[in-house]
């Protein structure tokens, strides 16, 4: 009587693949899988479902791949910090410029409201602008008054948007 060798063992073991579950098992397996999935979902608490959806949305954004580049993340954080500092420290220059220009407009328009002959009388070649009185509308008292009005608050300076040095040197 022969003994079992390795081939015999292999042959016997290959017979085990004929051991199968009851007929129809695999047809029902998918339905059972779906049923268990539904049951599992119903048994989960709400926070767990929400957390799972949040994790899914993060995985769609591929956040892990972004966080795998710590240098890039650190650089982005530094940039964000610098930008936010600049935003908080920026002067309110546009508002100052607008308020000053609105205050100046009525004084300039004084000349526009004067009759043409009066304007001509005031600005002739015989009487240059510098030596002539500016008249009642632009008298020193009024100028002083407006000056005092400005000095009631700390002096404010309106700067151009671009420094002078930024202007092209050959501007014809």
């Amino acid at each position: 009587m022969d003994n079992f060798d390795e081939n015999d063992i292999g042959t016997l073991l290959r017979l085990k693949k004929f051991e199968q579950p009851p007929p129809g098992y695999f047809e029902n397996f998918l339905h059972e899988f779906h049923r268990r999935q539904r049951d599992e979902l119903l048994r989960q608490p709400v926070w767990s479902v929400l957390w799972q959806r949040f994790a899914d949305s993060l995985s769609r954004l591929n956040i892990p791949s972004l966080t795998s580049y710590p240098a890039a993340v650190a650089a982005a954080l530094v940039c964000a910090a610098v930008v936010s500092l600049k935003v908080y420290q920026a002067p309110q220059s546009p508002e100052i410029a607008m308020s000053d220009s609105s205050e100046l407009l009525p004084r300039i328009s004084v000349l526009d409201q004067m009759p043409a002959e009066r304007v001509a009388d005031r600005f002739t070649l015989r009487s240059p602008l510098a030596t002539r009185s500016l008249g009642p509308d632009l008298s020193r008292s009024q100028m002083n008054e407006s000056a005092y009005t400005h000095r009631a608050t700390p002096p404010r300076y309106v700067l151009d948007r671009l420094p002078v040095s930024y202007e092209p040197s050959f501007n014809f």
């Binding site: 022969d2 003994n3 290959r14 085990k16 693949k17 199968q20 397996f29 998918l30 899988f33």
Partner: protein
């Protein structure tokens, strides 16, 4: 050796990762018979196998979005199945009962079955049903790791390289476990041949 050389499941996997449940269903239909055989031959119990197979696919469904394709889907799903089954067996310990000892009677007319049983004299001479029962008992005497290797190599027909990927061990370890397990099974079945009653 019917494992895919390239990942032929990639289109289905990509659709499943995008949330297409029907694509995952196709993967379940494709792999459930094969994984059933793997788990059953490690647990030797139908009910346990049924539960385990459901759990394996549930876990795969939850994890498929994290599958990056570093291995084939075939290797990935087999790794999940083997690891879950080994964990289950550790918890279960030695408490088991064999539930599918006998070969289905209708299978005995199968051409491949007849060919297998007629080639080797010890198999031909023995009572096949009894031999199968003894073989199952011998299988359960092996350690879980050795049984996993025997199942994948002899029953599932996987090559050593694929088994080593699934188990995360070297091919040398796979060959060594296989040699040891074969020797154990041989000794047990020879014992049965000499003392059929025992």
């Amino acid at each position: 050796m019917d494992q895919p050389r390239i990942d032929e499941d990639q289109p289905l996997v990509a659709r499943a990762q995008a949330g297409d449940a029907a694509a995952f269903d196709d993967l379940v239909v494709k792999y459930s018979p094969r994984l059933y055989g793997l788990i059953y031959n490690m647990t030797s119990n139908h009910e346990d196998t049924d539960d385990m197979l459901q759990d394996v696919f549930a876990k795969a469904y939850r994890a498929i979005k994290g599958f990056r394709g570093k291995s084939s889907f075939y290797t990935w799903i087999h790794t999940i199945a083997v690891n879950m089954t080994l964990n289950f067996l550790k918890k279960r310990g030695r408490r088991y009962h064999l539930s599918l000892d006998d070969v289905d009677a209708s299978i005995q007319n199968d051409k491949e079955f007849i060919e297998l049983t007629s080639t080797t004299s010890p198999v031909r001479e023995a009572d096949l049903g009894e031999l199968q029962r003894r073989l199952n008992e011998a299988m359960m005497k092996l350690s879980d790791e050795h049984r996993a290797v025997v199942t994948m190599f002899h029953i599932q027909g996987m090559p050593h390289a694929e088994i080593s990927k699934i188990l995360g061990v070297s091919e040398g370890t796979v060959r060594s476990r296989l040699f040891y397990a074969n020797r154990q099974l041989q000794n047990y079945l020879d014992e049965f041949r000499k003392n059929p009653v025992g």
